[in-house]
Amino acid sequence: MASNSDTHIHLLWQEQAREEQTMSLSEIRTKAGRLDTRTRRWNAISAVSIVLLLILETWQVWTNEELLERVGDALTIAALLYIGYRYHRQHRAAPPAALGSTNGVEFYRAELVRQRDLADDSWGYLLPFVPGVTLSLLGGALQERPASQVLALAVFGVALFLGTAWLNAFTARKRQMEIDALDAS
């Protein structure tokens, strides 16, 4: 009985109608080249965005009259440089050969660990901006800006930081549970 069922299921699976989605070698090369271009473009956009933010912050250091705001902007510049460096280190793509030389368990575990660490490390991306943003806000408050405006910005900043941290902690916990289950099996 079992072997008849086995045969039936195997036939059912292997005789599925094909969609005939074949790719020629030149199409594969084109697609691979397109993927490389997209990655390079994304890296370039990230780099240009950081450079633009650096220029903007430098301009503000130069032009702001309030000392606290200027110090805050300078600290934000340092945070941007640090984040750019971290981002560059963490997003280096795995070499393509790893896909074939890594078995399913190793690959799955490595992916879970990478996603857990990325989520766990959210403070590493958030905290560097805290001193600069805080000082800029304080500087703004001292410049007789409406208290409600400063308060709203502060509340928004804190909520954004806490919300992001909570979401990342949740993701990290979930991934850790999956890693534990994998290690236990």
Binding site: M1, A2, N4, S5, D6, H8, I9, H10, L12, W13, Q14, Q16, R18, E19, Q21, T22, M23, L25, I28, R29, K31, A32, L35, P95, P96, A97, L99, G100, S101, T102, N103, G104, V105, E106, F107, Y108, E111, L112, Q115, T171, A181, L182, S185
Partner: protein, 179 residues
């Protein structure tokens, strides 16, 4: 060997792999993606990843093992993407009821419905269980499944037993009822 020789070797190995495993890769993509457009994208990604990886194929494992590892690992990384709107995945060791409940009542039995039911079941499995299930359906023995997945042979044997139990319950009974 020069760059041109290496590239020719890579192309040659890819052509061999695509000819031998093309249909199996299509079935594998179906096991990971229900949506036809996303499935086509996944299959293309698998072929590109395979072609790229074969530049460094060193023969330490068989071409078949290499192809299945690249394909499953590429598909797994898509399933694990944090923002993917995926349903909660279950383990093959979970209760039989949890896997069978979502696929509906037994009403008649035909090939298309059976295949849909089979895909529905596979789509709900966690990545490693899904790999074992697909490789079992490709009629691989436990040793080959263990080499591709990295699970122990004993673990694979247990999972395959469980898979058979589920499939027999779901499909053999359904077929008998329908006949």
């Amino acid at each position: 060997m020069g760059d041109a020789g290496r590239a020719a070797g890579q192309d040659q190995r890819y052509a061999e792999a695509a000819a031998a495993f093309g249909p199996a890769l299509e079935r594998l993509a179906r096991a990971y993606e229900r949506d036809p457009d996303k499935r086509r994208d996944l299959l293309q990604d698998i072929h590109v990843a395979l072609w790229r990886s074969l530049a460094r194929f060193d023969g330490r494992c068989s071409l078949r093992t290499w192809v299945y590892r690249v394909a499953h690992n590429t598909a797994t990384s898509k399933v694990l993407r944090p923002m993917t709107n995926a349903p909660t995945l279950v383990a093959i060791d979970d209760s039989l009821e949890s896997l069978t409940a979502a696929t509906g009542d037994e009403e008649g039995f035909d090939r298309r419905r059976a295949l849909e039911r089979l895909h529905g079941l596979i789509h709900r499995l966690r990545p490693l269980d899904r790999q074992v299930m697909v490789l079992y359906l490709e009629q691989m023995d436990a040793a080959s499944i263990a080499e591709i997945t990295g699970l122990s042979a004993a673990n694979v044997a247990t999972k395959v037993r469980r898979i058979k139990q589920i499939l027999i319950q779901r499909f053999h009974e359904g077929r008998t009822d329908g006949e």
